[in-house]
Amino acid sequence: MRVLFCVDGSEGADRALTRGVAWLKNASIEAVVLHVIPEVDDRLRHYERLHEEELREIERLFGGEGHGLEVAVRARERLKQLGIEADRKVRQGDPATEILAEVREGGYDLVILGSDATGAAAEPHLGSVAEQVARDAVTSVLIVRARLGG
């Protein structure tokens, strides 16, 4: 079964990863972790342009693997601890749009993602990304919620 784990560095995404693996314990999984780097805020982009060289210098100095890749690398390590080898992918843009594009292009059987938004019990609502992916994905979607997924 080809499974796409969507991560963003948040607690919700970590929980989805762990829960997802636990629930799929006996399945043979071909896993991919995907981190979508959101479009950078205009004001940050403006200041980054002003100090582009110095910020690159900091990244070089600390030996960073590049923005965003870090999250995917961490998630892959976590999956490895849980006994699953995974590929890693990084895309940039609107998270929901990019996850849906990856699902379309990658031929996945299942998408797993977390949702920190809980809402009232009587009127549950998902985070906007989870909601859009659940609605529009061409494959099955497992959403691990903060309250219900525990």
Binding site: R43, H46, L50, I58, L61, F62, H67, E70, D116
Partner: protein
């Protein structure tokens, strides 16, 4: 109300709302508002540029931006963070307490956006190697940068506006807002420590060796520029401290804007082949944003719209000094958490000037401290409350640490409330001691 007054208020409100919505670049919004006022004939171009654009503010900001651009180009912020982290023995708990104090100190003299752009990035890099949660540290850094910014004339753009438009010097801010800001900073950092001490350190292998082997001097990109920038910065601060005395005693026109402009121009002259790089790093957008806003708010002043509001406030709070000061501070704080604090401070400069001209109201200086503290610190509450917040929030998101509004507010609001209560007490104490 006259037709020009209605038009001026409409343009101001439209500009304010458009800046708050952040759909269009705020510089374009403020310049559009200014041009609209000129087209409507509320102000003439000559009047706008000579009477309402406060060139002293623009000059001071240009001077400070130039010096900060040199420091950032030279690697000052990286060097500073590495030196401090080494002194703290790379201990995450010490970093949680001391890094925000450092950003608060730096932001008292520098533009807090640049300080936070670098410190958010550097904190993230340190957290990656030392395996601690960078988010509470960065949020505390932003809170203290905004609190620290309230302590001097050059710490935050609202202070530059309030100070220069209403005639308060660098030393006035240091003497009156400085002690309050120091106590507020200590209160805020105590809250940050209590909030996060149990969840700061994450699991995993700590890569301490890489850091211990890292010489902080490696952060310096250009040693000559580093010395030039640091020298220029210290001269600017020295000039800011002595400018009022020099002007009044020696009758030499060393005004506040000239204090950073003189070293800034020396740096540009001595910068050699780096001068062009330095000039490219100056945030001209912000300067244009200010120029446009001066015209937009100038339209309100010219048509007498602000006077009506000032009269109303003075009538409601006559002979209730503490109530007026507290209201000004808390109203400024809440407004700044929701909308950009620059147009707010600019409008309030005219409003409190109008109030001060009436009988039975507190001294203008007390109202300046109240608005300044509220405007600078209130912005902490939300990720969009100040430009430094936006930049730090987005920088963390870019590095894969999505903070989210709920977590930001959970961390920042208690720190902000404690800081504001301390400021409110400070104002009451000043009123009681008649020290203003």
């Amino acid at each position: 109300m006259s037709v020009p007054a209605v038009l001026a208020i409409s343009v101001f409100l439209a500009t304010y709302v458009a800046i708050g919505m952040e759909k269009i670049n705020r510089t374009i919004v403020s310049m559009s508002g200014a041009i609209l006022l000129l087209i409507l004939g509320i102000l003439s171009l000559k009047e706008a540029l000579t009477t309402y654009v406060h060139w002293e503010t623009v000059g001071l900001l240009f001077g400070m931006f130039t010096i900060i651009a040199v420091l950032s180009e030279a690697g000052f912020f990286t060097y500073m963070a590495l030196v401090v982290a080494k002194k703290l023995d790379y201990n995450p708990y010490r970093i949680l307490v001391v890094f925000p104090l450092v950003t608060g100190f730096l932001a008292a003299f520098m533009d807090s956006i640049t300080v936070m752009l670098f410190f958010a990035t550097l904190t993230y890099e340190l957290s990656r190697l030392l395996k601690f949660d960078a988010i509470p540290v960065v949020v505390a850094e932003v809170c203290l940068a905004n609190i620290g910014g309230s302590s001097t004339l050059v710490g935050d753009p609202p202070n530059v506006i309030l100070g220069l438009m209403l005639g308060f010097s660098f030393n006035d801010f240091v003497i009156h807002n400085g002690p309050t800001a120091v106590v507020a900073s200590l209160g805020a950092i105590a809250v940050a420590y209590l909030q996060c001490r149990k969840r700061l350190v994450l699991g995993g292998t700590v890569d301490r060796q890489a850091l211990v082997a890292m010489d902080p001097a490696r952060g310096i990109k250009d040693a000559r520029l580093f010395k030039l920038g640091l020298g220029g910065f210290l001269v600017a601060i020295f000039f800011l401290v002595i400018h009022a005395w020099v002007e009044h005693t020696l009758h030499i026109p060393l005004t506040a804007p000239l204090a950073p402009l003189i070293p800034a121009f020396f740096i540009l002259i001595l910068g050699g082949n780096k001068t062009e790089d330095i000039l490219r790093k100056i945030d001209y957008d912000v300067l244009l944003f200010f120029i446009g806003l001066f015209v937009v708010v100038g339209g309100l002043e010219k048509t007498g719209s602000i006077k009506g509001l000032a009269d109303l406030i003075a009538n409601v709070f006559r002979h209730q000094d503490l109530a007026l000061l507290s209201t000004l501070m808390w109203f400024s704080a809440v407004s700044s958490a929701i909308v950009d604090n620059v147009p707010f401070a600019l409008s309030m400069a005219y409003v409190i000037k109008g109030i001060a001209g009436q009988v039975g109201v507190p001294a203008l200086s007390l109202m300046v401290w109240a608005v300044s503290l509220g405007t600078d610190i209130g912005g902490n509450g939300t990720p969009i409350g100040a430009s430094a917040n936006v930049v730090a929030y987005a920088a963390m998101e870019k590095h894969g640490h999505r903070i989210g509004w709920p977590r930001w507010m959970w961390l920042a609001i208690p720190q902000t409330l404690v800081a504001l209560f301390i400021c409110n007490l400070g104002l009451a104490l000043k009123l009681w001691l008649k020290f203003f």
